[in-house]
């Protein structure tokens, strides 16, 4: 099967039911999406599928064929950070950082749909677990991107 990941096409020969996460991590060495729970609870494995956040640990790789897959590695373009990544740096959001790739992708998807999200919008969209407890800074960073009015 052919997968389009971060605008590159990859040829893969794996079981169709293999979760996208393990095709990315163990077949293609794309390690940004993390394993946290395996049951779509925590969101550490979040990728974007045609712009929508998806928990790749519970999404069959075959279903991703024909879709645009974006991982955290694909956010930086031509050496320029995505505004969400920059805001994450400016607000010193990450602690251990393990969940943050998924958090940033969820934020990117939110801001695409709602460039000026309310707190309620953020509550509804940001459902990934962070054990370090960086939630307050995640919220602040999202508001900061929105306030800058940068098209995310």
């Amino acid at each position: 099967m052919k997968l389009t990941i971060n605008e590159h096409v990859h040829e893969l020969d794996v079981e169709p039911e293999m979760p996208l996460l393990w095709a990315l991590r163990d077949e293609l060495d794309i390690k940004g999406p993390k394993f946290g729970c395996g049951v779509a609870q925590c969101g550490a494995c979040t990728v974007l599928l045609n712009g929508e956040p998806m928990r790749s640990c519970s999404y069959p790789v075959s279903a991703a064929v024909g879709q645009q897959v974006v991982t955290i590695e694909g956010l930086e373009k031509n050496g320029k950070l995505h505004p969400v990544q920059q805001a994450w740096i400016d607000h010193e959001v990450p602690q251990c950082g393990y969940c943050q790739g998924g958090q940033m992708l969820a934020a990117v998807a939110l801001l695409k749909k709602k460039p000026k999200p309310t707190d309620e919008d953020i509550d509804a969209a940001m459902t990934n677990i962070c054990r370090c407890g960086t939630y307050a800074r995640i919220r602040a960073a999202i508001h900061a991107v929105a306030a800058k009015g940068v098209h995310a």
């Binding site: 925590c42 930086e76 740096i89 990450p94 393990y98 940001m126």
Partner: protein, 734 residues
């Protein structure tokens, strides 16, 4: 020299090779050698073109381009110490922080140099507490050597030279040389016999909100965690231990899976089973279809939360107990008292649930083992790995990687390293990456011990507590996990916060009935301070209410002048929380004060609770006096984060036991707080100077009791056990 380069898959950006590049110059002359280091990938690319570097001492290396390499000899798991510890070195060294690069020291490098880096573990919030002195001394000694070398280069007396931002200037002539120009000469000098550390008022880096060094790499996914290790020809292992603790493999049938795609081997490891495959998902899926018969002693299989509770209750009532504190004649005073107030409090077992599950990559080639694992104690990993793989400790290398959270799970007791090393041995010469499922991680943890506490107290007519007896009935981490004998029968963590309570209570007895069970116990963020403060500060609140006193005034009245720091933080947090001002109708507050990890902490929670027992937390004000606040922004992050960690446990955290195994398995039944539930947290950082307290753990301590006290004020219900879900309370957005 050990260099591993994995070819990138076609079409993937250059980040996709993992390069553990190690520069080893085995120079032994003059005692200077370059350390073994594992740069992040970005740094690895830089390292090729690196200018010549000179190691001034074990901690400091200065390059000819003025880059200053500072070694960090502990782990980074989000606590921020890999920035704050090097800040201590850099301040004394007198360098521009912008030119500082931090590199991890490794355990094998330290071992080869007679443990030059000292204790390398990141546990007990002690990196700053325990290493501030020798780190500052290393910086100061190097500065002095550089000044002497600079003076020699300029042919002026060193006493007339000063160092600032990496430049040595002769004050008279204004001539100057840079650190990079004289580092090589400085390295040849003998270190000064003594150094004078700076007066805190002269600090330039310590106390500043310095950006954490690794965050830009985290947001670019350029940091590799243990789980991200990739090696040529690597295979993947999924593992399963007996669901009942301590069970052994009796028999195993792998016939259903052995011919499946990608399956390489099924291993009977005695006390666990491993499936090795060419993709971890294939291994994990196959493991489900390996039938294992376990050998479980009958008594172990009977253990349940109810049987443990009964066992703990027997501890409350047994006549003999180890005495941890004995001021005055508490039992006599209570026997004579007209009125005794008593209460029992319970806190449950808790799992760590770090975001990154336990894992280990081991590569045994001949008698040499290389290890990549997320560890809080690389020295323990080194020793356990050597034992597990059956090789000499000198032949093991443990490369430091970023941890996907630690929370105490990855400390000295390296069960995962033992497993990983055994698998590496079984699969040698292939490199193997072992990874636990979340279910394995939840059900085979070292749990925060459950604890049952009974308190009895009597008060004088004006409310003063004249006698208090605290009986703790709980497992001992030191004895059960570390197999250490308990001095006088006391595990300090089991009685923490009781044995050292700050209150002026003339008759104060704290005793301990050790109740070890077959449920493994271990260090969980804040350890004894994750549970005992809830008990102590709730009971103090009960006594304040019994006396008709305001809980803040009541505490202040019992803190003597010998406890100025406790008083100060309590007052600072009360002030920030507008404690003396009335709250909106229906909103109530609770307060608590604690001390631990060398710091002083207090918390005020403001809540409202409706008749459906829905709890809204309107505001949390939490404060710390850590003595010196090394990196204030990082301290704030730790305070914010510890509230989330605490609230997850307080509302939902509970590991229960049935038929000898853990009932919970994943985040659906071991619930974590999410962003939409995050209350407003206001932080108070109130450093009073003169000491170096920890910051990662202490502030979780006052959260539980201040919340429970607020709930009492709101509802009249005194919560005497966590989690709150068991009392019907739910958390809703304020």
């Amino acid at each position: 020299m050990s260099q591993v380069t994995v070819k990138s898959a076609q079409g993937i950006a250059r980040r996709d090779f993992l390069k553990f590049s190690a520069t080893v110059s085995a120079t032994t002359g003059a005692g200077f050698s370059f350390g073994f280091f594992v740069p992040s990938m970005a740094e690895a690319a830089d390292a090729k073109a690196a200018p010549t570097a000179q190691k001034v001492n074990a901690w400091i290396e200065i390059r000819s381009d003025e880059t200053v390499i500072i070694k960090y000899a502990r782990a980074e798991m989000g606590q921020g110490s890999s920035t704050s510890a090097p800040m201590l070195v850099a301040d004394e060294l007198e360098v521009d922080w912008k030119k500082v690069k931090v590199e991890f020291a490794t355990a094998h490098e330290s071992l080869a140099q007679k443990r030059v880096y000292g204790d390398m573990s990141s546990v007990g919030s002690k990196t700053i507490q325990n290493s501030h002195e020798y780190l500052r001394q290393a910086g100061a000694a190097a500065r002095e050597m550089l000044i002497v070398a600079g003076a020699q280069a300029m042919n002026v007396p060193s006493s007339e030279c000063v160092a600032k931002l990496g430049v040595i200037t002769h004050t008279g002539s204004k001539k100057s040389v840079t650190y990079g120009q004289v580092a090589q000469a400085a390295a040849q000098l003998n270190p000064p016999a003594t150094v004078t550390l700076k007066d805190p008022k002269d600090w330039k880096i310590i106390g500043q909100p310095i950006k954490r060094r690794e965050i830009p790499d985290i947001v670019r996914a350029k940091i590799r965690y243990g789980i991200d290790t990739q090696l040529p020809g690597m295979v993947y292992a999924a593992v399963m231990s007996c669901p009942v603790f301590n069970g052994k493999v009796k028999s195993l049938d792998s016939s259903k899976v052995i011919n499946r795609r990608g399956i390489i081997k099924v291993l009977d490891m005695g006390d666990f089973v491993a499936v090795v495959a060419n993709n971890w998902w294939r291994a994990k899926e196959a493991l489900k279809d390996v039938s294992v018969e376990w050998d479980v002693p009958a008594d172990l299989a009977k253990t349940s939360s109810a049987s443990i509770s009964q066992f703990f209750h027997e501890g409350l009532n047994q006549a003999e107990a180890a005495v941890a504190r004995n001021d005055g004649d508490t039992l006599g005073a209570l026997a004579k008292a007209d009125k005794v107030i008593e209460a029992e409090y319970f806190t449950p077992y808790l799992a760590h649930s770090t975001m990154e599950p336990m894992g280990y990559t081991g590569w045994l080639q001949g008698d040499t083992l290389e290890v990549w694992t997320s560890t809080q104690s690389p020295e323990a990993t080194l020793a356990v790995s050597a034992a597990g793989a059956g090789v000499k400790i000198e032949n093991v290398k443990v490369y430091q990687v970023q941890l996907g959270g630690g929370l105490g799970r990855r400390g000295g007791s390296q069960d995962f390293s033992l497993q990983g090393a055994k698998i590496a041995k079984a699969m040698s010469p292939l490199p193997v990456k072992m990874l636990w499922t979340r279910e394995e991680d939840t059900q085979h943890d070292f749990y925060r011990p459950a604890s049952l506490v009974k308190l009895r107290a009597t008060q004088t007519a004006d409310g003063h507590i004249s006698a208090m007896h605290v009986r703790v009935s709980a497992p001992s981490i030191l004895n059960q996990l570390l197999k250490l004998p308990l001095p006088k029968g006391i595990d300090p963590q089991a009685v923490a916060c009781f044995s050292d309570h700050p209150y002026a209570i003339e008759n104060s007895l704290v005793d301990y009935a050790q109740r070890n069970t077959n449920v493994p116990v271990g260090f969980w963020r804040s350890v004894g301070h994750s549970q005992n403060p809830f008990v102590r500060e709730s009971f103090i609140d009960e006594l304040a209410h019994a006396a008709g006193k305001d809980p803040l005034e009541f505490r202040l009245s019992m803190l003597s002048d010998k406890r100025p720091k406790d008083k100060a933080i309590l007052l600072a947090v009360a002030k920030a929380a507008d404690y003396s001002s009335p709250l909106p109708k229906g909103v109530f507050r609770g307060i608590a004060e604690t001390e631990g990890y060398g710091s002083y902490t207090a918390c005020v929670c403001e809540v409202s609770v409706n008749d459906k027992k829905e709890v809204k937390i309107h505001r949390i004000v939490v404060g710390i006096d850590p003595g010196y606040a090394v990196n204030p922004d990082n301290i704030q992050a730790q305070l914010q984060g510890s509230m989330v960690h605490g609230l997850s446990a307080i509302f939902w955290g509970e590991i229960t036991i049935k038929d000898g195994h853990v009932e919970q398995s994943n985040f659906h039944d071991y619930r974590m707080m999410r962003l939409n539930e995050m209350p407003k947290v206001q932080t108070v950082i109130a450093p009073t100077g003169g000491f170096w307290g920890g910051v990662g753990e202490p502030t979780q301590a006052p959260l539980g009791p201040s919340l429970a006290n607020a709930i009492f004020n709101a509802t009249g219900t005194r919560v005497r056990s966590f989690p709150l879900k068991n009392h019907g309370f739910t958390l809703v957005k304020a």
